[in-house]
Amino acid sequence: MNQDRTQDKKRNFFQRWNRYIGHAINTIEVSILVFCVASLAVLLIANVIARTFFQSLYFADEISRFLVMLTTFTGVSYAVRRARHIRMGAFLDAMPLKMEKVFILIICTVSAVVMGMMAWFSYEYLMNAMSRGHLTPALRAPTWTFYIIIPIGFGLACIQYIRTIIKNLTEKDVWQSPEQQSEYEDEQIGGAQL
């Protein structure tokens, strides 16, 4: 912790802010993911109980759809930050480090562009939905509220890829993501140590 702080002093203004924002985003993303999965579980279990003894909850379908979308698009950006997206890394792993670094830079640039485009067009989709003003059938909530998370998720994913590029350019080592040096570190796999 102490060492952390002395290191903190050595960082320049830009790097320190990068760290603060990183912490904040982490907290928000983790809370959303935990909250969504937990409430989805509670909702679905409650629905089974309700259906058995009374009748199905009329809003269960809609809320679970909403929670699934929230989880998915939050998870997209979280997974970029932690290098958890599924890919075929066999060739990449076998490359010499310098080449791997070049490839990671290319991959991240392309990924950032693609994510940026998805963010832009999902923003347009959101605007379209807002102007149409449809309501959801069960809850009578505006449909567009379901779509807010999509441009945010893609946009954050884009930013995380850009952060990876910066990290790789400013530091000597190879970084798979802004917070993960290789795919194999820090992966807590439950049960493996039984």
């Binding site: 935990v34 759809r65 075929m88 991959i107 347009e124 989709y125 049960g191």
Partner: protein
């Protein structure tokens, strides 16, 4: 069209995330060939991603992942293994057979190949090594028997296939059980012979009092298959409800009965489930956009007739489909492969007279085989990640298992009743 295929293959091989590979090559294609339509098509793509993520049937996926995550980090796996070991441990090949059976049952409990590799493999591998089995044998065994989990309900492969082709997920679940057991028997026979010939690893026979103790400890774990398979077979639960019940049962089991679940671990399970859900669902969404685009470009109409030839026989159709899925799943995550290929092939194959449920079983079996087959099967990388062993050691003993799995495919094609018997019974046919 060529450019599309090349960009796809190149991005795939050079380690681009699948999500970017799919969405990126679509965007590239749209901007090069239809620039004037591009903004509209891109918005449609977003719409397709949303459509892909939100079908009601997919809601069960995060719940099955959650229940797997809760029990994987808890005590269920260890208890299950102890129970099975007490019964088959003394046979020649007792430990590998224990691994096989545990993987099959844990597949029925968790529905996830990776959870199975981690939970069963993590426990069994040290025991197998102690007993004198070669490292590459243990790894081949663990990777391949975990693939049985792909056929045993609740399997994410079946769910994705069912959603992509509007086939009943419940019936698909039931159709996977006997093919899964068939592979279990084949693997166990192989382990029996292997251990007999190499003369390794026989354990002392467990006494009856020991057996009763481990049954008492392990039996509650068997509640999962009862809830999931029994619930769907009798029609009490839809797959989503079965998934919710499984989560409920996992919580009760790990908190009240085994008392091993702490708050931190529960929160971590929620987080891991959320991340896996995000990673899997964005692939399904991208896959949906992709298969919509493939339909829009009329690729099936161009691709399928020359592939199948004029007036193909049913056997030829099945063989081609099996090979296509097998090869595809060697390179791509099975979920993506199933989601993209199934809408292309399914209408054609079903119109050739193949039962859609049999097709689903075969396809899922190929996905399981492909993902454990060198050089690129993704389960090999999972095992590498979990056990931190070099690549060649992981794949060193794959061949016998691969041959057995191919044999199982042939048996299944010749005797489709193995898969179809149970779903037909459930439908009262």
């Amino acid at each position: 069209m060529m450019l599309f295929a090349i960009s796809l293959a190149a991005m795939l091989l050079f380690g681009f995330p699948f999500m970017v590979t799919l969405l990126g090559s679509l965007a590239l294609y749209i901007y090069i060939y239809m620039p004037e339509l591009a903004p509209k098509l891109m918005v449609t793509m977003v719409q397709q991603v949303i459509n892909g993520v939100t079908p009601p049937a997919l809601v069960c996926v995060p719940m099955f992942i959650l229940s797997a995550s809760i029990i994987t980090s808890g005590e269920s796996a260890g208890r299950l293994i102890r129970m099975i070991k007490a019964f088959v441990g003394h046979l020649p090949g007792g430990l590998p057979i224990t691994t096989n059976v545990s993987c099959t049952l844990f597949g029925a409990v968790s529905g996830s190949t990776q959870a199975t590799v981690a939970a069963i493999g993590g426990t069994m591998r040290p025991m197998l090594l102690d007993a004198g089995y070669k490292s590459s044998f243990t790894l081949g065994l663990i990777v391949n028997s975990s693939d049985i989990a792909f056929l045993i309900p609740p399997s994410i492969g079946f769910i994705v296939y069912g959603v992509a082709t509007s086939t009943s997920i419940g019936m698909l679940f039931l159709s996977g059980i006997f093919p899964g057991l068939l592979i279990l028997v084949m693997f166990s026979a192989y382990c029996f012979l292997y251990s007999k010939i190499k003369n390794v690893g026989q354990l002392p026979k467990a006494s009856w009092s020991e057996k009763i103790t481990v049954i008492k400890e392990g039996l509650p774990v068997m509640g999962f298959p009862v809830i999931i398979v029994g619930g769907i077979y009798t029609g009490i639960f839809s797959p989503t409800e079965a998934a919710a019940a499984a989560v409920f049962y996992a919580l009760i089991l790990e908190t009240l009965i085994y008392r091993s679940l702490t708050k931190d671990r529960l929160v971590d399970s929620f987080l891991q489930t959320g991340v896996i859900t995000g990673v899997v669902f964005i692939l399904v969404g991208a896959g949906q956009a992709f298969s919509w685009m493939i339909g829009f470009m009329q690729i099936p109409q161009q691709l399928l007739p020359p592939l199948f030839g004029p007036d193909p026989s049913m056997l030829r159709v099945i063989l081609i489909v099996v090979i296509v899925y097998f090869v595809a799943c060697m390179f791509v995550d099975p979920i993506v492969a199933i989601f993209i290929l199934s809408p292309i092939f399914q209408p054609y194959v079903v119109s050739a007279g193949v039962d859609p449920i049999l097709l689903g079983t075969l396809v899922t079996l190929q996905a399981a085989i492909g993902s454990a087959t060198p050089p690129f099967g993704c389960d090999i990388f999972t095992a590498q990640l979990i056990f931190r062993r070099p690549y060649l050691e992981v794949i060193g003993h794959s061949l016998p298992f691969l041959l057995m799995l191919i044999l199982a495919t042939v048996i299944l094609i010749v005797f489709p009743q193995i898969a179809l018997w149970l779903p037909n019974m459930a439908m009262g046919g």
